[in-house]
Structures are given as structure tokens and as C-alpha cells.
Symmetry: C2
Subunit: 380 residues, 2 copies
């Protein structure tokens, strides 16, 4: 249904042997990174069982009268949690056993060979945990309100802007930061020629599994909240199943107009310009170390007269990473620079939405997103 191209290797320019060595170093670094990610995928079960163990150790410290009070419900719950964790682990194994193939067989073999199961760094485990929630957001009935809040204004806009459905296959759209692929997929279903782009290997493998290996409606089950302990109304809420995907995808009628490119947005667009009629960025621009680079790149890759549609907050991803450069501009600065770059801003709105919430939790992160549409001049 979609073609995934492994395009992670940096495009930096070097010459001769130096270039070869550089490429090998980069490839090795990628395999080491992939190995850490695979390791985290495979260690989820271990992590979950350790979490459950901690809960049970606290239980042991209770007085016997307190133990008696919660004994039965607590034991039943812990048994359920462990079942959920084991099941989630099986799904994660399915994801990597399918998803790894998108990086090529040689890469997959090399990565598998050097794997040793060991405790993953918290950073990598948190990616796995958030992937379970991202599946809910993008590919389940539960996630529909979240998706509708910010995808619907985009879909409404492009439907109106490119109103002749039969001409849409000649309209080239790019979706940087396409995550698990749902928005790019929806745009392709509308008839556009869509290029998704994603940097995270965890997201790429999972999206490949979702797009290319999940066909039946509610074919699979995950328990995304099994390890949540705070802010619950009931034990049942914590261990409830969520089924995915919410829609079936025909195995035979794959739209030829949908591709996914792996790699850093700035790198994969380095030598491209005036290629797209429309760039759609949803929950993306705050992944930048320097958002001005993103704005200028989007301007360059758009055809003259092309349109940029953006929706999302400004939760800058590198803000807390002390060793990284990070420029955190407020919205007023972002939109000033959008205009300064040459865009004419056509529309500005504020949209309220949640993001990867557990809808039955007492705590929900609510975002007010900036939605804007900006056009590149016809003459440039």
C-alpha cells in the first residue's frame, strides 16, 4: 500500500575515501541506534513486569489489616496487568518483525545479529510507551475526537482548495512528521499524491506495520493504559482493551499515490525545491531545533503559489535537552517570520485539542493549537 524508503543516511558532501568512511560511520551509528530501539521494543515486557513488581513490593509493606482490605482486588488487578503487558509485548514483536524490513534486508539482518536483550535507557522505553498511545490516537475509534479536532480543519481546507477530485492526483502534498501515517493516508484517500516523511525509527516501523500489515477492522488489541497507576477511576479502566485499526484497508487496491520517506526533514529536502503544491504540518514544527530552518525549507520546497497548512502547539522538543541547540519562539514570532520569508498568511485560527490522552483518566493535556494557512507567492 505504501512504499517506505530507507533514506536515513546523511547527505553531507564529502569526497573520495573520506566520504566512504563517513558513510560507514553514519551507517554504523544508525545500526547502533536501531539496535537500541529494537532492544527497547523487546524489553517492554520486562519493563512492565518490573513496574508490576514495584507495586507488589509496596503491597508487601502494608500492615496485615490493610493487606486484607485490598488483597483480592489488588491480586486480580495485578494478574490482569501482567496479562496486558504480555499481550502488548506480542504486538510490539509483530511490529518489529514486520517493520524492520522497511530498512532493507541487509540492515535488518545486521541489526538482529548484534542485538542483546538488556535494560534499555529510559529515553528509549518512553518511546515504546508513547507508541502504544500514538496507535490509539491515529488508528482507533477512541482516537477519533483527537484526530478530528486538528485533521478535520486540514481535510476541509484541502477539499475546498482542490475541489475537483479528479485532478487531485496531480496535486503533490508533503506531510513532514507523519508519525503513524494516518493524516497522510487520509489525504491520499482524498486522491492527492502524498509524500509522508518521518524521522523516528520507532514511528516508521510502527506506521509500516499499520499501513501495510493491518487489513481487517479491529484486527488487533492493545492495552495502552495497563501501566498507568495514578488518576484512575477503576482498575477496569486501566486494563481495558483498545482495538485497532479502526478501518479496513484493501490489500489489492493500494493507492499508488502514497509514499513514505524515512529521514530528517531538513536532510531529505536538502537538494529539493519547488516540488510540492501543498505542505501539511500537523503537530510538527515544534520538533525543530531552529524553527526558522523549517519555515525557510517549507517555502523552498513549495511550488510558486503553493500552500502551507499548519496546525499544532509550540511544545519545543529540544527545550529540555541541555546539550542541544534549541530556539523557542512564541507564535507571534513564528508568524512574523512566516511573513518575512515571503508567505502571505491567508488564515489564522486557534483550535482546542487533546493529544494522546487516556480519555478515562482524571488528567488530560489540553492544547490550544495554532492553525494557519500561508501561500508562497506566484512569482518567485
Amino acid at each position: 500500500m505504501s512504499t517506505c524508503e530507507a533514506n536515513c543516511v546523511s547527505n553531507n558532501h564529502c569526497e573520495g575515501n573520506e566520504a566512504e568512511t563517513f558513510k560507514e560511520d553514519v551507517a554504523d551509528a544508525e545500526i547502533r541506534e536501531a539496535e537500541k530501539i529494537l532492544n527497547a521494543f523487546l524489553c517492554y515486557g520486562l519493563y512492565g513486569r518490573e513496574m508490576a513488581c514495584r507495586t507488589m513490593l509496596s503491597f508487601k509493606k502494608l500492615s496485615s489489616s490493610h493487606k486484607d482490605i485490598i488483597l483480592q482486588s489488588h491480586n486480580d488487578h495485578m494478574r490482569n496487568v501482567l496479562k496486558c503487558v504480555n499481550h502488548n509485548q506480542e504486538i510490539l514483536k509483530k511490529i518489529i518483525s514486520y517493520g524492520l524490513s522497511v530498512f532493507g534486508e541487509e540492515f535488518a539482518t545486521k541489526t538482529r545479529r548484534i542485538r542483546q536483550k538488556r535494560r534499555p535507557e529510559p529515553h528509549y522505553m518512553s518511546k515504546i510507551l508513547s507508541t502504544l498511545r500514538q496507535i490509539v490516537r491515529e488508528w482507533t475509534v477512541e482516537g477519533k475526537p483527537e484526530r478530528d479536532a486538528t485533521y478535520k480543519p486540514i481535510l476541509d481546507f484541502v477539499r475546498e482548495r482542490y475541489s475537483c477530485a479528479s485532478e487531485r492526483s496531480s496535486v503533490k502534498l508533503m506531510v513532514p512528521g507523519s508519525g503513524l501515517g494516518r493524516l497522510a493516508f487520509e489525504l491520499a484517500k482524498e486522491g492527492f499524491t502524498v509524500e509522508g516523511n518521518e524521522y523516528s525509527m520507532v514511528m516508521l516501523m510502527t506506521s509500516s506495520f499499520l499501513l501495510n500489515a493491518c487489513f481487517e477492522v479491529e484486527q488487533h488489541v492493545i492495552y495502552p493504559y495497563a501501566l498507568d497507576k495514578s488518576n484512575s477511576w477503576s482498575y477496569e479502566d486501566q486494563t481495558r482493551p483498545v482495538r485497532f485499526p479502526d478501518l479496513g484497508k484493501s490489500r489489492t487496491e493500494a493507492p499508488p499515490n502514497f509514499s513514505m520517506i524515512a529521514g530528517d526533514f531538513l536532510e531529505i529536502t536538502q537538494s529539493r525545491s519547488s516540488q510540492f503544491d501543498c505542505v501539511v504540518t500537523a503537530w510538527f514544527i515544534d520538533t525543530a531545533k531552529n524553527v526558522i530552518d523549517y519555515i525557510e525549507t517549507i517555502y523552498r520546497i513549495l511550488k510558486p503559489g503553493g500552500t502551507w497548512i499548519n496546525v499544532g502547539p509550540l511544545t519545543y522538543h529540544y527545550e529540555d535537552m541541555i546539550e542541544e541547540m534549541s530556539i523557542e519562539l512564541p507564535y507571534e514570532e513564528v508568524i512574523r517570520i512566516v511573513r518575512l520569508t515571503g508567505f502571505v498568511v491567508e488564515k489564522e485560527e486557534r483550535i482546542t485539542s487533546y493529544y494522546t490522552i487516556n480519555r478515562l483518566s482524571m488528567l488530560q493535556n489540553q492544547y490550544t493549537c495554532a492553525f494557519f494557512v500561508a501561500n508562497k507567492s506566484m512569482h518567485c
Copy 2:
């Protein structure tokens, strides 16, 4: 206006010399803890300047064309941020110079003597940062919607339950986890005899300053969002002032019916029973390592026929502290144990509220709180 009693010393039972040594150890531990807190209060300015420095270092790494784009607004903003940080530091100094006195002159002198300004642990600095937001929540006009959401149902309930205003001074209320004292203060203003209780020394010093040293409406200014960088609409939003307190308090007409007890809720109630007509817990029960201890203690300290009013989520404070015991029960278990302990549950509702949000940020933490009223049997 309020009397604060330093009652942090553990009530554990020891005898003779052993008891003396133990008391000294505990006292020393408290002074060391106090010294760390004072240090964090005094190092806020340094912390803020370091944060600003990191932003400026990232700015330096920009290309000269990107520097040119944001130079003026960026420089103006950084100047404002530094002004805000310096001003906040002055307020924090005022808080400790007043607040420390509540622990007694000897304690204050001893603590001051051993202080050396040095980099505080992140844990302590985060307490200072959250205190600025807590001031907004409890003692400003901006915080009113947050307070109203969960304080108003409590105030409405007690006004109706104890409808004869002239008899309220004989009604004894306890407010565990009273934070910066606003809810306890509001209940005292209604005429009840109120005992607030708070464990955190940061909260105790700040509440003492707010209750006993702030008299005029909007006497002081803080800039609680000066160091926020993500999710802003404008630089102006980040450096906007918030004035406190939102109400004036007469210096002469101090209500005699309001006291604050410092210390751990379980410790300060250890030898008490059947003392209160009403216990009000707002955003408190999830501070427990074992919430069953809290439920049983509240039952014990209530008079027969007494009432427990609770509102808040279940964001268990010790959930992420690996070295601590933590029992995280969902609401259905909490309310089952409330009944099992002997309470008759009179009312159960769900209330939506925010907590210490920056109302102009793109991101807001929204809580669905459990609100319940439970009564101790008349015959026990």
C-alpha cells in the same frame, strides 16, 4: 492573623537519653532540610540567569541571517526576562525573611548561620518554581477560576450544612494539606474554627508571608511565567506581571479562629481522636504513600457524626519515587475503603478543574476531580 506553630519534630516515643539524642538528630535533619530550602529560595535568581544564558548560547549558534531576523525581539525579550527573574528573587527573599520566623528565632538563626549559596538540587528548585504558580492559584484574580471550580462546591456545602452563621465558631474544621492557606482562610472567614495543616516548609513559609505580611490588595507583583519558553503566543505573555494578593486583610481584625499546624498529617494527628466536626481535603489525599492511612486517620479525628468533604484527582505523589513505598488505588477502591472504614457516603460527583496553569499557555492540565462527602456514624 494566623498563628503558625512549628510542630515538625516527630512524635515518636523514645525514653531518657535515647529520646534526647533522637530529638536532636531529628532537629538537625530538619535544619539541614531547611537550609536546602533556604538555599533554593536564594538561588532562584542564579537559576533563572542560567536558563537565560542557555537561550542566549543557542542564539549565538544561529547563522548571521537568522540572528538578524530575531535579533531585536530576542534581545528585548531576554532583557525583560532578566528583569522579571531579579524581581521574583526579591519577592522570594521577602518570603523567607518573613516566613522563617514561624519556626522560632533559634531555628531561624541556626539555619541562617549554616547557609552557603550553592547550586540547589533540581527537586528543591522545582519547589520554588511551583510556589510562584501556587501563589497565582491561591492568591490572585487570575487564579479565581481554578479556585472556584473546587473550593466553591466545598464552601457551598459547608454553608448549607452549618447554616446558622452565629454558631459556626463552635464548629471545628481541619484542612490537611492547606498549601498557601487560601481555602482554610476562606473557611475561617465564614466563621468556622479552622485548623490548617501543611507539611512542606516552602508552602509554610510562603503561606505565612501571604497570610500575615500581605495586607493591601495587589501589594506585590510576580512574573511566574518568565522562564516558560514553550507554548507561548507572545513574548509579552511570558513576561506579564501577576499581582497579589487579590484581597486585602485587615491588620487589626484578625480572626482568632484560624491556626496553622506545621508537620506531617499522620504525625500531628497521631494522638488525636474525635476532635473535628468536619475535615476538608482539597487536592490532598493523593499525597499519601498509603491512602488507607489517611482514610482511617480522618475517620478517627472526626467526632461521631462528623463530615469529610474531599475534592481532587488521584495523582499519587510517590508514584515515581522508586525508593519510597507507594500504594496507588483507583477511585472505586478509595470509595470502597471509605465505606468499609465506617463512613456513610452522602454525595459523589465529578468536577472539572485546572491546576496551577498558565492560562495564556497553549498547554493546560485539565483534571476531572472526584468530589465526595462522607459522614462518620453518630454512634462510634
